[in-house]
């Protein structure tokens, strides 16, 4: 029950975030064309809001860009032609998905490369730990633990005795 309530609450809180900003008067009559406009709109960045698509943004400029996308689609442009038109004016920045090319190589490869390096490092640590584990027979709590010498044992006993006295 609580789980269902939690899910319901989360839906209630987060669902509005995905609501689109497309205005009713912008929507094209032809559902096929409108569907394409939505696809294109989700790929275009609202240039005044940094990290929203024009479909998600309430900014006036985003609204004008949505209308422009629809005009060009109605005029017979392909999706790619519409995107190219925007890139032509705003640069790659206007695409929410930056294209894969030399200048964006680090952006695309970087995280994956760091993840692979990290996994490699963790794997190395585990292998090293395992090999030391196998060698030390007396080890109890960990690979680095060495048993107390007789001297140390005696001192420990004394200290414990003092404490309880």
């Amino acid at each position: 029950m609580i789980r269902i309530l939690t899910v319901a609450l989360m839906l209630a809180v987060f669902a509005p975030l995905s609501v689109e900003a497309v205005e009713p008067n912008e929507i094209l009559r032809d559902p096929a064309l409108e569907a394409r406009a939505r696809v294109v709109g989700k790929e275009l960045r609202c240039v005044v809001c940094q990290n929203q698509s024009i479909d998600d943004s309430n900014a006036e400029l985003a609204g004008d860009m949505r209308v422009l996308v629809r005009e060009r689609i109605t005029a017979g442009d392909s999706n790619k032609e519409v995107l190219d038109y925007m890139v032509d004016r705003y640069g790659d920045y206007v695409l929410l998905n930056p294209p894969f090319k030399a200048a964006t190589l680090v952006l695309w490869i970087g995280p994956a490369a760091i993840a692979v390096l990290g996994l490699f490092w963790v794997a190395m640590m585990f292998r090293r730990r395992k090999s030391t584990d196998g060698k030390s027979e007396i080890s109890t709590s960990g690979p680095q633990s060495t048993p107390l010498s007789d001297d140390e044992r005696r001192r420990l006993d004394e200290l414990l005795k003092e404490d309880s006295a």
Binding site: V48, E60, L61, D64, V67, R89, Y90, G91
Partner: protein
């Protein structure tokens, strides 16, 4: 070797911190950092033809720019920073330094632009009305004011984001305009 591994995070931090400090320094030097380089530099002005604003006879289109070095200035009566640069544009007009063409961007009321110009003065040779961002998007504009220096052949040579200040004018815009006139 192992010691060296422990230094790596520190080095990464230093590099990232270094970039952060460089950026901050640019801000404190008064340079705007978040500037998108315009892809339109050294390309022809996108074709457009705007209707006149209310009470004006002529609109403004890309063809009007041919034959001389010009400034295309995008403004709006709603734009606070435009008010800041406006007196300087008036000065450029009064001294006859270079013709300025205006794009009146996204006025909610058709009489807002003309009223604003009546109040603060009209520095523009021609003005086009751009209520739906047609020209603004064609120019790849993200906010007002933005100004473009266009050469005799109608090629965009410079994009100024934000107000034209006396500083920018002296250091960048005016030298560039004089340079372009020699071509």
């Amino acid at each position: 070797m192992k010691r060296f591994l422990y230094v790596i995070p520190l080095m990464v931090l230093l590099v990232v911190g270094g970039f952060a400090i460089l950026q901050l320094k640019q801000v404190s030097d008064g340079k705007s950092v978040n500037i998108l380089p315009s892809v339109l530099i050294n390309r022809e002005v996108p074709p457009f033809d705007l209707a006149p604003i209310q009470g004006y006879e002529k609109g403004f289109g890309s063809k009007d720019l041919l034959g001389q070095v010009t400034i295309v200035n995008l403004f709006g009566s709603w734009c606070v920073a435009c008010q800041v640069e406006h007196p300087f544009l008036m000065k450029i007009k009064e001294q006859g330094l270079v013709p300025i063409y205006g794009i009146d961007w996204r006025e909610k009321n058709p009489d807002a632009g003309p009223k604003w110009l009546a109040k603060y003065g009209d520095p523009y040779t021609l003005i086009g009305d751009d209520p739906n961002s047609k020209a603004a998007i064609a120019f790849g504009v993200t906010g007002a004011p933005e100004s473009f220096i266009v050469d005799q052949k109608g090629v965009i040579r410079y994009k100024q984001i934000g107000p034209i200040t006396p500083d920018v004018w002296e250091s960048t815009l005016w030298p560039l305009i004089q340079e372009l006139r020699k071509i």
